[in-house]
Symmetry: C2
Subunit: 440 residues, 2 copies
């Protein structure tokens, strides 16, 4: 299995920075140049890192990069992965080097971070509203002719705000804008095609702005009725495509190509299949998926969603996207039978769509970690602690001792990445190869 090489991810400005003691996961007691992490020879399984520590498995990352590139090529779509998931410049670089069209982001601050580290094409998948935030994005477009950014609007008020700031900032190229189609009772976005067309017409007529396409986020469709959810996703994508056709018929587009985008990390197959039905427009079409969590997958919500996606796509078990992100911590206390307290908590692992999933344990030293029996579960987390319940009568209850390492998968990469300013990239044997930064 090919591991993602450090060279592909290296950013010299970050490799040259001097890390001070006090960065989560790093066992340093003296300042250390970040680029020198790989030559330290730290082995997580020997207890060399600080704990808790967040690790990214390079082989799984490379597999997922390749898998998604092939998926998009096969389905005739392109990827602008949601960068808010990781906010890691090195991972943005790996995604772009692997064929991504651009990076999707959620707000102006994230756009500034991405631009600072070399990203030159951004899909800002949100309404850009606050004056200082509009100005921050327009300033980048003004100062850097190589920078491209497309933003969303879902109301006439939003269009008016963008037009006003574009005029005030003296932008010499039109700001491309996608109209967001939403879902009743859900998040932002026009609730009806009629509303969406009204916003599209306003964009077509607004000086300094250009209608570039339509956008939606089908990932909010999630209920107890999975079959209905799937139909809902297909219907939503059909509506999005119909809007593009209607706006094209009216001659509203102001950009050289028409951009249509949807696709989180649960239904991107249905999105790709739906978008590809769009054809016969007057300008070239660009169909963009925006999945962010494909890069690491997880051991929770996305694992379950991706197993369903694999079944729909005929992907053989084990050949789909692989979980790449784990949190390792230490058994801090065995205060009573059946309970181990771990040195990780809400500050270290996501808890919004399920608690971490204990995978393996290891007594620091040589050898491979052993799987934890399936009855083991994290049942609660405090800010800095996790409660690992061990099945009554299970031999693990005797085996797991103070000081043992426990590796956990997580559910929801976005809310785990944002708890780590630095993650460690590891080989299959958990030797630390290099570091990845995040900017939240």
């Amino acid at each position: 299995m090919n591991a993602l090489p450090h060279g592909a991810l290296s950013l010299s400005s970050l490799d040259e920075q001097i890390l001070q003691p006090g960065v989560k996961g790093l066992p340093i007691t003296e300042p250390l140049r970040q680029g020198a992490i790989g030559v330290q020879g730290w082995k997580l399984l020997h207890g060399d890192t600080s704990f808790p520590v967040a690790v990214l498995k390079t082989a799984a990352l490379q597999h997922n990069l390749d898998w998604m590139r092939d998926f998009c090529a096969r389905h005739g779509v392109q990827l602008s992965p949601h960068g808010k998931t990781t906010m890691s410049p090195q991972l943005f670089g790996a995604q772009l080097a692997n064929g991504a069209w651009g990076i999707t982001l959620a707000n102006a601050i994230q756009v500034q971070v991405a631009h600072r580290f070399g990203v030159r094409r951004v899909l800002l998948a949100n309404q850009l509203v606050a004056r200082s935030d509009v100005r921050a994005v327009l300033r980048l477009l003004h100062d850097d002719p190589d920078f491209e950014c497309v933003v969303l609007a879902d109301s006439l008020a939003g269009v008016a705000r963008l037009a006003e700031e574009a005029a005030a900032q003296g932008l010499t190229r039109a700001l491309p804008v996608l109209v967001e189609l939403g879902l009743s009772g859900k998040r932002a976005g026009c609730r009806t095609p009629e509303e969406a067309m009204t916003v599209a017409r306003a964009l077509a007529g607004a000086p300094g702005l250009a209608l570039a396409g339509f956008e939606g986020y089908e990932g909010l469709i999630s209920s107890d009725d999975h079959a209905a959810d799937l139909r809902g996703v297909e219907h939503f994508i059909d509506r999005l495509c119909a809007l593009a056709s209607e706006a094209d018929d009216e001659g509203l587009f102001g950009t050289a190509e028409i951009l249509v985008s949807a696709g989180g990390s649960s239904y991107f197959d249905l999105v790709a299949n739906g978008l590809r039905k769009l054809h016969g427009l007057s300008r070239p079409l660009r169909l963009i998926l925006r999945s962010g969590c494909y890069l690491t997958s997880d051991h929770g919500t996305y694992k379950r969603d991706l197993e369903k996606l694999d079944a729909r796509e005929g992907v053989a078990p084990g050949q789909g996207l692989r979980p790449a992100l784990e949190i390792w911590s230490v058994v801090q206390s065995r205060p009573e039978p059946g309970l181990a307290i771990l040195t990780m908590g809400k500050r270290d692992a996501s808890h919004d769509t399920g608690l971490p999933v204990p995978l393996a344990f290891h007594r620091p030293g040589p050898g491979a970690p052993r799987a934890l029996p399936s009855g083991c579960a994290i049942v609660k987390m405090n800010d800095q602690h996790a409660y690992l319940r061990l099945p009554a009568g299970d031999p693990t209850d005797d085996l797991l001792a103070v000081g043992d390492l426990v590796g956990c998968g997580i559910s929801h990469p976005c809310t785990t990445f944002d708890r780590w300013p630095l993650l460690l990239a590891v080989d299959e044997d958990y030797t630390v190869r290099f570091a990845l930064n995040t900017f939240f």
Copy 2:
């Protein structure tokens, strides 16, 4: 009302750092020296900051610092505030300048951060277990004779690990250790006084270690039966005190004074009253509360707990600790009647003990914000969005428009601070005075 002055919080190494565009809350498009933030004249209510933005109200902070200092003086206890709440060196400095005995922390990485920024006395309120983490703390003790750190143990295995590392590192002064008393079914800590005494005796006999006292965390006592909880807290503190007496009778203490510590942010009055009953020991006693959330309080869980504490202590309404931390965001979309989508999400505000509490709204410009009616509520958050429900038929539903600012209180400061590398300190009129850093 006195505001906390910037000078009291200034750390020149942080004031001198150059902030790059892309830091949450900062509206900058060029690099800016952190110490120059206060002269920018940014007014949040004019929409000058980036959004979302986390603000600390300086007058409330100063009030809370004064209030807690007076409380401790009146109750004959000292404060080692839990620094994990804020992980802000400037706030550590303000707490120490205001009479705190030391800073409490949760793990070795946090200790390294605090030491780097000048903290010289730490209560590490956790078992220190991982080898690299034990070594990191011992290294600070070895290299810096002015640095003091006391840690916890709750098992013979833990004592053995500490003793082994203390010997390996050649520590010339004994490492002071508190025995943790726990609660059945809860987190770490010895479950019975007998277990705690066994650990205490092991510490007394371990080379390189010294029994310094006893510690517990009563904040885990929380059920639907509040009266029973209060009795449980009192009983727990009585047991903690009895352990100190018993260990003193046996001559187990190895430090010049005996340290007994408990106290989160919900019951610290009961803890103070309980600890003060301890007397007649052979050495000077140091009674330490560890509340972290007193500094900012909140509009959720702690607000409710502190109202009960105020009632127990006879504090007049409005004279207790005040909420100091707010998150302001922008109405990004009004996609349907009764719903406003805000530009803040799980990445910006805690959601583990209650969703944010909408307080006020304001159209950017002069004037004061207006209170939101009590029927308004944040009903859901995604990673980057909040769903603000407005009561049907409420005039606010017509008033609140795209681009309006909404200020929210939060529930649980710890899990909000850790989402902000930088918070802005503001006056009563939300003019930005200076910045505070966090290191998570």
